[in-house]
Amino acid sequence: MSEPLRRSPEHEGDLHAETQILNMGPSHPATHGTVKFLIELDGENIVDLDIQVGYLHRGFEKECESGTWYQAIPYTDRLNYNSAILANIGYCLAVEKLLAIETPERCQWLRTMAGELSRLGDHLTRCGAACLELQAMTPFLYGIEARELTWDLMEILCGARVTSNYVRIGGVKHDMQPDFPGRCRENIAKIRGLLGDYDDVVTQNRLFVDRLRGTGMLPKEELIRYGVTGPLLRAAGVPLDLRKDQPYLKYAEVDFDVPIGEVGDNYDRYLVCVEEMQQSLRIVEQCLVALEKLGPGPVNVDDPRVRWPAKGRVFNAMEELIQQFKAVTEGPMVPAGEAYQAIESANGELGFYLVSDGSAQPWKVRCRPPSLINLQPMPKMLRGAMLADLIPTFDFVNMIGGECDR
């Protein structure tokens, strides 16, 4: 055996000391989202990072400006396709703000419930996919099985699993089916079981904890300066949740907690998301009780500007026939003005800034995308970290291409 190689100072100059550029994406198996990272690496350490977004840009705002106010609703489904209903709700609340409409109580409870089921599906995807991308297949399957159960409920409620298109301006598409509460409670019990299984294999798992703890941190003041909201900000200890702080729909009447973290690393983000799922289940249960107590009633506002007349009347009465014709061909005329409405989506503040010129076409539909804004400080979270830390950080930033790029 020869002597082990020993590095001497005069040989240092021969080693490659320059940094290396690595392209990751736009389609990479360890990222759920179409995004490209240009990473400057020194060995395995990230020196700098440039994030290139826009691969899923479909001209959301331009399309909205060329249709009626109603025709924008299906496009909002395709913003964050993990929690379509939350975007539906955000957009419709903004239009209702312009129209100065108050929706019926039953509609508000239905929206709250559907929104929470949607948030649950989003968090399940985030936590499940995070495990998959950290090479743990089993918890991913628990998460996805639970998500299937929420999507089954969506299918019963809206007829579609993912792009639900359930919310309407001034109401919802239809009331829930009579057997929905029973099915919902059954599935909630199953989801609780799956979350327990998931928790058993993940939360205390040494491999998982070691990959997450201490990675992707940024002080809360910095996160606020970057406009970061949602579970990312709450994990850093800021209890900002629009459901509590600026309550809309029925959030002021339901009982739920806002979990916060301590240091804001990826492990805290994970813990916050897991706890938020339990809180969402609590809210859904309270909504079911409230809906049963409320009894049958209208789910759409009785306002001729947005209401479609009952089908039976359309076929038999001239006035309603004309109204139906106008509603389908033109849609509602929204009074001129501007309004900004923000809701707490699964990723943070989802805002819609609408400008109307008084016609049946939106003048401007701006979506404030939490995915894009939360992604922006990611290079700052990762400078000096290992390349492997990029994966869990990106998982919990949870950038959704459809919403980020619009």
Partner: protein, 166 residues
């Protein structure tokens, strides 16, 4: 000008009333339309003043008012939505931007959050932000011709093929 019961708007009127062109509170959203040349100064004031404490720039976007039936004045408007995470009050600031020269000062030094939002406005509206550290397209690619959210950009316009890249 009225403050419509908004503490931040009242403070802004007291301290910088001369830079404000109009205020309104349509649908409950307190709004100030400000002198474009002084927008960064005002935004910094709104961030640092303890009575306002707008530590978060919630949103930044632009609106093109070309051929709008009622709008008078410059063609574009840059719209800032501010949020105070402490007091939870919100404020909207608007500043007009003419077609030529299509530019306004960047507020990246006030809130780094503005970086990508201003890039997006530049990309889709062609409004240039002076002193922006990295003003390049964000959602579209470098070779894209025109700015698609301008009202005179037809939705059907085709773009030239650019071929593969290295």
């Amino acid at each position: 000008m009225e403050d419509f019961g908004s503490p931040a708007l009242r403070r802004l009127l007291e301290a910088h009333g001369g830079a404000l062109l109009a205020t309104h509170a349509q649908h409950g959203d307190a709004t100030a339309i400000v002198e474009p040349a002084r927008v960064v100064e005002l935004l910094r004031f709104l961030r640092d003043d303890p009575a306002c404490a707008f530590d978060m720039l919630a949103d930044l976007c632009a609106v093109d008012y070309l051929r709008h039936p009622e709008h008078r004045g410059a063609r574009f408007e840059v719209v800032y939505h501010l949020l105070s995470t402490g007091t939870l009050q919100r404020l909207r600031i608007k500043a007009a931007v003419p077609e030529l020269p299509c530019q306004i000062d960047s507020c990246v030094e006030v809130w780094p959050a503005a970086n990508w939002m201003e890039r997006e406005v530049f990309d889709l509206y062609g409004i240039r932000f002076r002193n922006h550290p990295d003003l390049r397209r964000i959602l579209l690619y470098e070779e894209f011709e025109g700015h698609p959210l301008r009202k005179d950009y037809p939705k059907e316009r085709r773009q030239p093929l650019i071929g593969p890249r290295n």
